[in-house]
């Protein structure tokens, strides 16, 4: 009999999540060969990540943003508004390039949903940017400088009444909603429900019903795609995502400028708010991994990159709660797939303070050969073929670059060949050359 989850050690939990990923319950494979391929690919990735034994060869990821869409001759607008077309593009991409790990097809997202809810945090193709461009974030102080106490006291309530109505036009009735934790006893309970009778609140919910129906359609397409691509032998490597608390505050709540000023003007409140956000980020990652039967949870890192903070600032504001999130995930067997976007050279000595074989780092513009010598001793590194080279370089340059990093970082395992940051434009032959390099030069005999 399987042991109870609560009774397992974190290593056992990780093994369990890997096992559920490698041998998915109820999966329908297209052929015995597809099943064998799926097992070989997932096992190869697992061995690279755990750093206990050598994989059969260096695994290879292709992690695109809108590349599959351009490659299929569509615009990002097409992909965000026609789910079937979008899935077809991603399927073509995976079958043509045959990576060991792929990201699924969720990058473009459901355009009609964003229209219905009037999302203000982003521009998307045909809505604020050209139909042929990627979505882009519109930073702002969606949370005001004097709202820390409200966030700290009750984050859910703050999101419901203040933050969400600011970033979703459709939720403009929500500031009128009752405080749910005030619903306690028969006496007075009815009055709490008055807001639901008011036209602005009802209009908000009307839009949400519409939005929910749209997302169900989209989720159906994504789910069917995921099952199909797995059935053909290709593992999706990400169960969901979570974030470093500093980036939660900086990316979507306070904006870069607001966050930076808070570091000087109200550092204690910023630190306290990150403490409050930390367990929420852990729960979000653990929940995603367990429900998807997949150990990997994606964490994109933004405002702690080289130059964004001094060493002291990184150690004071970024690393403590980020590490708590990582350790909280690791404790539950989850493998954080951390994307160190931009340069992370100055942080490697700090972030290597992690248990061996529990994290996977996507290296972008850091010196990956140097990274292998510190962070790479305790964590599997993936990377770092540059986006500019995929777009403008020759396939020979790609091959040479891949061979160089496989030689330097592949030794002893703990390395996955990959592009360094999600790519839009690229030459197909360059993406092919990257995948081929892992197969040709990545063998461990």
């Amino acid at each position: 009999m399987e042991r109870k989850w609560e009774a397992m050690t974190s290593a056992e939990k990780q093994e369990n999540l890997f096992a559920r990923w490698i041998s998915p319950a109820g999966a329908k494979f297209a052929s015995p060969q597809a099943e064998a391929d799926y097992k070989a690919r997932t096992t190869r990735i697992k061995d690279a990540v755990q750093m206990k034994k050598l994989p059969d060869r260096v695994p290879v990821f292709t992690l695109p943003s809108f590349f599959p869409i351009y490659h299929a001759g569509m615009t990002p607008r097409d992909a965000m508004y026609d789910y079937e077309k979008c899935m077809a593009a991603f399927k073509k991409f995976v079958l043509e390039f045959e990576p060991d790990g792929n990201l699924g097809a969720a990058v473009p997202g459901p355009g009609r949903f964003f229209d219905i809810v009037d999302y203000k945090l982003y521009s998307w193709p045909g809505h604020g940017v050209s139909p042929n461009a990627s979505y882009q974030a519109i930073e702002g102080e969606y949370m005001k400088a004097d709202e820390y106490d409200a966030l700290i006291e009750d984050p859910s309530n703050y999101f419901m009444h203040t933050y969400l109505p600011r970033v979703f036009g459709a939720l403009d009735g929500w500031p009128m909603l009752p405080v749910l934790t005030g619903i306690l006893e028969m006496y007075g309970v009815a009055f709490n429900f008055i807001p639901f009778g008011l036209p602005p609140v009802q209009a908000s919910f009307q839009k949400l019903f519409e939005a929910g129906a749209e997302v169900l359609k989209y989720a159906g397409a994504i789910g069917a795609y995921g099952a199909e691509i797995m059935g053909l032998g290709y593992p999706t490597i990400v169960a969901g995502y979570t974030k470093a608390p500093f980036d939660v505050l900086g990316d979507t709540l306070r904006g870069t400028r607001g966050l930076i000023v808070d570091m000087y003007r109200q550092p204690q409140k910023l630190l306290k708010a990150m403490d409050v956000v930390t367990p929420i980020m852990i729960r979000m990652g653990v929940g995603a991994a367990i429900s998807a039967n997949n150990p990997f949870v994606f964490i994109p890192l933004h405002k702690g990159a080289d130059g964004f903070l001094s060493d002291e600032q990184y150690k004071k504001f970024y690393w403590p709660t980020f590490r708590q999130v990582l350790m909280g995930l690791i404790k539950e067997g989850v493998v954080p797939l951390v994307a160190a976007e931009g340069g992370y050279n100055t942080r490697l000595d700090i972030v290597k303070d992690l248990p061996k074989g529990t994290t996977l780092w996507l290296i972008d513009q850091s010196d990956i050969i140097k990274a292998k010598k510190n962070l790479g001793q305790v964590a599997c590194l993936a990377g770092n073929v540059p986006s500019a080279m995929l777009d403008l370089g020759t396939s020979q340059e790609i091959t040479d670059y891949c061979k160089k990093i496989i030689d330097a970082c592949g030794k002893g395992g703990g390395f996955i060949l990959s592009n360094g940051s999600f790519f839009d434009e690229a030459k197909a032959e360059n993406v092919k050359a990257m995948v081929a390099a892992a197969k040709q030069y990545g063998g461990y005999k």
Binding site: G307, L309, S387, D424
Partner: protein, 210 residues
């Protein structure tokens, strides 16, 4: 107490800086002198950033303090601000790209280095760059872009400058997340700056400053 203000600003002591400004304003000091001293303080901030003693947060925060100084001084100010000595530089994020953090840092660094910076904002079409070049006569243009999509927009902008007959009078630098020498070659720009400090060195070199 000369330099007291520039020192406090360079040390990012907001309260102290603003108290000094308030005190001087009350004593009837020349607002231009206050701004000049603030400019010296900002120069120190820029220098410390170039020396890797200060980082992006320090730049942004010093800018916030300066904004407050400007607000305090403005009502007393007659006439224009001090003339810039470094020459004109046009900066903008190219068409299709709305990222501004990197561009803003370059604008800041050029500004504190004495350049007269014309900030065109984000998602700037090629013809707007050309029109601004004609209008201002600026000899240097900086094109910013975070996405690989920006490579083509940068190339189109350089081509438009060429088509307008301004290429031989204009030095063009590019910068952004994924820029390399290959991208310089592809776009037809003159050079790229890995960061804001390199951007300033390029501008200084092209402007004939040491």
């Amino acid at each position: 107490m000369a330099n007291e203000l520039s020192k406090a600003l360079a040390e990012l002591e907001e309260e102290k800086t603003l108290a000094i400004v308030a005190e001087r304003m009350k004593a009837g000091a020349d607002p231009m002198a206050i701004l000049e001293e603030a400019r010296n303080g900002m120069q120190t901030v820029g220098k410390r950033f170039a020396d890797c003693k200060y980082f992006i947060p320090d730049l942004v925060y010093s800018g916030e303090i300066l904004k407050k100084i400007n607000e305090m001084v403005k009502p007393k100010l007659v006439g224009a601000g001090a003339a810039k000595r470094g020459g004109k530089v046009i900066i903008g994020t190219v068409a299709g790209d709305i990222h501004d953090i990197g561009k803003d840092i370059v604008v800041f660094m050029l500004d504190v280095s004495g350049f007269d910076v014309i900030d065109m904002g984000v998602d700037v079409p090629a013809d707007k760059f050309v029109a601004k070049l004609k209008e201002s006569g600026a000899p240097i243009v900086g094109l910013s872009g975070f996405l690989t999509l920006a490579f083509d927009a940068m190339k189109q902008t350089v081509d438009s400058i060429k088509a307008a007959g301004l290429r031989n009078k204009t030095k063009i630098m590019i910068g952004g997340g994924q820029i390399t020498d290959d991208v310089v070659k592809y776009t037809g720009a003159d050079a790229f700056g890995k960061d804001a400090v390199e951007g300033v060195s390029l501008a200084r070199k092209w402007a004939g400053l040491k």
